[in-house]
């Protein structure tokens, strides 16, 4: 009975995703959207993958990571190397990038995740920078000038498909035994371990899963723009992603979607006024935090609020409106 309801929920989610996809695919293939908006829609998809996966660490598990850009960099470079040096098919490269980021996330997560709060934030920030500086010092992959000429095989279809897979996987993880364990770590790790939950295991779990998706986004990124450059993966990128998560609401997947859409949108609109863009962005952050420190959605899911709890379904309906 319950499983049928949950499967129906999944089906609605996929159905709505498909409708959204069809609409955008139509707009793109018919060239109704300008290349500027096509680019920004791609960026939105990437940012949604990044923000929602970071939310698993920062929002759901309550850990404080500021190193997401580092894992994105690993995904971007590993997949680029796979395509350019080993001539692997696109999908294999992307998966290799995601897997590499996941392995690294696991290796970094095990020693660092016993740190708490601010200390973890600084450590992950440092890890991200170390990854970037390491890349900077490997001449075989372009060093400071980056890699270029990567085949631009990432299409909107790929981006959208990967985004949906990310959201679907994250949504179902959060609503499972594993997800509840992550939540309990966020809420009170001492009580969680008294309930038989290995808190370290779930911190590492969340960190690894999020790293995999960051790596996936990185691979899509380098194969969309055709370049991979160390300056794309500074800690400012990590801040950007974190800002999307905080803006949307920690612990809310639909919040991360909204956060990613809004911030990418603002960045896009302000593109023509570069000197004001970052100022507006900064003021928005400050004002939003002053008046709504829990973000737009708090830790609630938008659909649950709007449709009531028996009509759980696609989490995209909130964001489509933002795109128009």
């Amino acid at each position: 009975m319950m499983i049928k309801r949950l499967r129906k929920q999944d089906a609605i989610f996929l159905l709505i995703s498909f409708v959204v996809f069809a609409v955008f695919q139509f707009l793109i293939s018919e060239r109704i959207l300008s290349s500027f908006w096509r680019l920004n829609i791609a960026v939105i998809c990437l940012n949604i993958i990044l923000a929602s996966s970071l939310n698993l660490i920062n929002g759901i598990t309550g850990q404080f990571s500021l190193g997401h850009a580092g894992f994105m960099a690993v995904g971007a470079y590993v997949s680029a190397v796979c395509t350019m040096f080993f001539h692997l098919p696109f999908i294999c490269s992307i998966l290799a990038g995601a897997a590499a980021a996941g392995v690294l996330g696991f290796c970094i997560g095990v020693p660092t995740l016993h740190l708490q709060g601010d200390y973890l934030a600084i450590a992950t920030l440092g890890m991200g920078e170390i990854i970037r500086i390491t890349i900077l010092n490997i001449p075989q992959i372009g060093g400071a000038s980056g890699m270029s000429g990567i085949p631009t095989e990432t299409t909107f279809t790929w981006l959208f498909f990967c985004m949906i897979v990310t959201l679907f996987v994250l949504k179902n993880i959060i609503n499972s035994n594993q997800g509840r364990a992550c939540l309990s770590v966020r809420e009170n790790d001492i009580a969680a371990s008294a309930m038989g939950i290995n808190t370290t295991e779930f911190k590492v779990f969340a960190f690894t899963v999020a790293s995999i998706f960051a790596g996936l986004a990185g691979g899509l990124f380098s194969h969309y723009f055709g370049i991979a450059h160390p300056s794309s993966f500074t800690f400012m990128r990590s801040f950007d992603i974190m800002t999307m998560v905080v803006l949307g609401g920690l612990g809310s997947l639909s919040g991360s979607i909204i956060g990613a859409v809004i911030l990418t949108f603002i960045a896009a609109v302000m593109q023509s006024y570069p000197e004001y863009r970052m100022i507006v962005y900064a003021l928005l952050l400050i004002i939003l935090m002053l008046y709504r420190p829990n973000g737009i959605c708090g830790d609630k899911e938008l659909v649950n609020v709007i449709l009531g709890r028996f009509k759980k379904g696609g989490k995209n309906d909130g964001t489509v409106a933002e795109n128009k």
Binding site: V43, N58, F64, P111, T112, L115, G117, D118, Y119, A121, I122, A123, G126, M127, E129, I130, I133, T134, L136, N137, I190, S231, S232, T234, F235, M236, R237, F239, D240, M242, T243, V246, L250, L263, T264, A267, Q271, P274, E275, Y276, R277, M278, I279, Y281, A282, L283, L284, L285, I286, M289, L290, P293, N294
Partner: protein, 323 residues
């Protein structure tokens, strides 16, 4: 967001000194001399890190907040010093004093407007705000004063002393002396004045301090003033030393100073001084003996190592959560 590139305010050793140093090394006991020379460079670099680190550590100690905008306060200090020296034609000491006052007030204003309303909000909200303030300071400066680097006027004579094959510039000496004076002053204020006692009380337990009649708001404001003015002084000193300033110059030194604060034990004032010096020396040694491209990585590696071995820092005490 995707188009954003960052130019770090990298602190690098002027080329002509590099050349003289190489010459000196040929003559003397090469390795040892080089080591001492890097030690000297490291100490002057480290004392600047220490000055900035003090602000981080004081603010963290009192509010448990990583003030990401602190590096940008340092940048503002450098600009104030620049305009004091060029537009108003003030000499060294008035310039640095003016920079300290302006950045001090800026620090207080930032605290009052952006952080105070969030004192009881989730930590991540304050941190996001701090990032917002940081971006705001950087890009407002960029908008108003253009992103072009500016050449800092020579406020101090560029005399260079050569002692037994070692090179010490007058500026390095001034940086060291000013830093030491400021640190002594700070230590005195924190340990021997009423305000210092209030600062210690608030950092220990703000609620209890409030109950004892301490004005917590005023104490936090004062802490921001002192911490920010130290960063302002550091900004002017760096401007003089490297004679070039730009709006994003605060990012990297800000991070490094933060690492220095963590290294020494965040919240502990002598820790920030020690951490700054150690970090400066390590960086100088790595630039001198290995490669300057690994210098930034070294700072972060130090950070990771200290966090893994002793997260509370060199001078920190381990604390356990009471169950």
């Amino acid at each position: 967001m995707y188009g954003r590139s960052i130019r770090y305010g990298v602190l690098h050793i002027p080329i002509e000194i590099e050349g003289i140093r190489r010459g000196a090394i040929m003559l003397g006991d090469t390795l040892f001399l080089q080591f001492i020379q890097q030690l000297i460079n490291g100490i002057s670099l480290g004392s600047i890190y220490a000055l900035i680190a003090l602000g981080y550590t004081m603010v963290y100690g009192i509010m448990k907040l990583i003030n990401f905008a602190h590096g940008d306060v340092y940048m503002v200090g450098a600009y104030v010093g620049f305009f004091a020296a060029t537009a108003v034609r003030l000499p060294f000491f008035p310039s640095i004093l003016l920079a300290m006052v302006v950045t001090g007030v800026l620090g207080m204003a930032v605290e009052r407007l952006a952080y105070k309303p969030l004192r009881h909000s989730p930590k991540i909200a304050i941190l996001t705000t701090a990032i917002g303030v940081s971006l705001f300071l950087e890009y407002t400066t960029m908008l108003v004063l253009t992103p072009q680097p500016r050449t800092f006027p020579p406020l101090l004579p560029e005399t260079i002393y050569t002692v037994g094959g070692l090179i010490v510039s007058f500026q390095q000496l001034v940086i060291l002396v000013v830093s030491i004076i400021l640190m002594i002053l700070l230590t005195y204020v924190v340990n021997h004045t009423k305000m210092g006692k209030a600062m210690r009380a608030v950092s220990y337990d703000p609620d209890a301090a409030q109950l004892m009649g301490i004005n917590v708001d005023k104490t936090i404001s004062f802490t921001f003033f002192v911490g920010s003015s130290l960063a302002g002084a550091a900004g002017v000193l760096v401007g003089i030393y490297y004679n070039s300033i730009e709006p994003l110059m605060g990012i990297m030194p800000g991070m490094k100073a933060f690492i220095a604060a963590v290294l020494g034990g965040i919240g502990i004032i002598p820790g920030a001084m020690a951490g700054g010096l150690i970090l400066g020396i390590v960086e100088a040694l790595i630039s001198g003996f290995i490669s300057s491209t690994f210098r930034d990585a070294a700072a972060f590696a130090i950070l990771i190592i200290i966090l893994l071995i002793k997260p509370t820092g060199l001078l920190g005490k381990n604390e356990h959560e009471k169950v």
